[in-house]
Symmetry: C2
Subunit: 341 residues, 2 copies
């Protein structure tokens, strides 16, 4: 990282990338990049169908660019527009495939594209949730291959896990402490300073990329395991014939009891991230029992609820075949739009 | 419960029963009963080898009895001394056998003994950790058989799970909110009022014995599962080659991350109680995946540590066979004596 003047490109403008582009855009020259031209067109017109962005901030950041102030936010879906930038932040999705295995396609495609624009001194920071080791073992070789540059000599990497809580208007990007890391101690300082300049809640500099990657993977896995525990309780108490809510309320009067509630888990994170950690563990010969049993229990809760409904219908003498079922409230999270392009 | 004047006998004077006997003894006429004559002799001399009791309180409660004030604490190992009492609180241990199945022997023996002294209007309150349904399905039939009395007509039951935290001098009996319950709504009120008279932190009246039983079983199971999760992480991160403490520190900067630490679990509670819940679940045809995978991981941590030590010794070129190993700090909990009679 030779240049003191940081020009930042954000790769992927979903609910993670867009707020980041806006905040950095208020202070730096920022390109918001997405392969989806429709998304770029909408954002260029100040419209965000994810409802995550601060639209006033978006207008402000775009205005700074329009006034040629040397900072501000512009948008593009053309990868050649990435060339003038020196910090690339990757915020593409990391989903799982139909076999619950990590699907790194968007991450590796983004790395391939960045490899082709990478220059001496550039930094690539990943924010996408991955398993520990993914940046160095999966992304870096692609960056090297496509750029012809050498990692930690010609270019560098950072990892700073996104902690966006979709639908949460209180704990927003700048108000959530951010974990940072870099591929060398010097780059770790640069990455940390960069995020510190926009995150008012402060940063936590992790000792390595792997530690930063792992820290994100375990956050959602812990939540998944805790929800699976109360879901398992709900399955047991259903058979015993007592109300799980009553039991949790009583146990909750102890100072250290954690009041998780049974229910479905979904979305991009809790039902997905634990598989990344499990995948890595399996590759190293360890079968994660707690994490995967939690996934199994949570994944089967929909089936449990459906079975319950069918039994209740049978008990009421209703005809199951051909019956209509009204499903209410089946969203990823309350007040989060279903974003489709 | 006809008599307004409550005379309370505590069955089992371990780290649960003794503090209870002392607190009740300050306000009521209380008999502290234990089958161990040596324990009775020591307590009668103001000595408590569990270190849990408030010795000043013990002296005070015993003094009240000695002065014939109609309240105060006396001790006995003779079951015929139990006859004049009308509230019996059972605080005997509920361990597991070598097959990790609940060993109800002390609980059932205590119930058998109480059945023989039970009179019209008496209340038997259990504090021992059990699975939901144990009081009504396992203990009540023994009480009925040995007394010839009818449950909920001639005598009644309560369940109020102990929440003693051994070695903790801050969260002591009277300062921890207590869950109460009774076998009828009226008896639930009596049990709740009784505990309210000594627990300054207040009580929580659960809607049924089963709910109160379940609330205790899940408290320690939740802790066990959470520790097993970080233990599983430690096993994975050991293979990845990163420090689990670093990862937990980074993840802990998120507001909702729970900072459990990897390690061994032991003692009377965390490594035992989950098997009670699991046992009941299995009897109802549900195999608890999350709870038992947690138990497996935690039970194997000792082996993991031992293997690590052997590998480190091999790496240092030491001879394993015949080597001496110094084990430090292997206690149930810090500052808790190993109580043996």
């Amino acid at each position: 990282m030779n240049s003191e003047i940081k020009k930042i490109a954000i790769i992927g403008l979903g609910y993670v990338g867009l707020p980041l582009a806006i905040e950095f855009g208020k202070k730096y020259s920022v390109l918001g990049f997405d392969i989806n031209q429709l998304r770029i067109d909408e954002l260029s017109n100040g419209k965000d169908r994810t409802n995550e962005a601060d639209l006033e901030g978006l207008k402000l950041a775009m205005g700074l660019a329009a006034n040629c102030e040397g900072k501000g936010l512009t948008f593009s879906s053309n990868s050649s527009d990435l060339i003038p930038y020196n910090v690339y932040i990757v915020t593409v999705p990391t989903p799982i495939d139909q076999f619950k295995a990590p699907d790194l396609t968007p991450l590796l495609k983004a790395s391939e594209m960045l490899g082709k624009v990478l220059k001496n001194g550039d930094i690539v920071i990943y924010e996408s949730t991955v398993y520990p080791g993914c940046t160095e073992e999966d992304c870096v070789p692609i960056l090297e291959k496509n750029s012809g540059l050498k990692f930690n000599i010609d270019f560098f990497c950072g990892y700073s896990p996104e902690r966006i809580n979709p639908g949460d208007k209180v704990n927003t990007l700048t108000k959530i402490k951010k974990v940072t890391s870099g591929s060398t101690p010097e780059i770790a300082d640069v990455v940390d300073a960069l995020y510190s300049s926009i995150i008012t809640a402060g940063t936590h500099k992790a000792p390595s990329l792997k530690v930063a990657e792992a820290s994100k993977a375990i956050e959602n896995a812990q939540r998944d395991v805790n929800i699976s525990f109360v879901n398992e309780l709900a399955l047991i108490f259903d058979r015993i014939g007592i109300d799980t809510t009553d039991v949790i309320e009583a146990a909750g009067t102890k100072w250290n009891f954690l009041k998780y509630k049974p229910g479905l888990v979904g979305g991009h994170c809790i039902g997905v991230d634990p598989y990344y950690l499990a995948h890595k563990a399996e590759s190293l010969g360890y079968h994660p029992q707690v994490i995967l049993s939690g996934r199994r229990v949570n994944d089967n809760m929909g089936m449990f609820v459906a079975n319950k409904v069918v039994k209740l219908m049978i008990n009421k003498g209703q005809t199951i075949k051909g019956a209509n079922v009204l499903i209410l409230g089946v969203t990823f999270k309350e007040n989060c739009p279903d974003v489709k392009y």
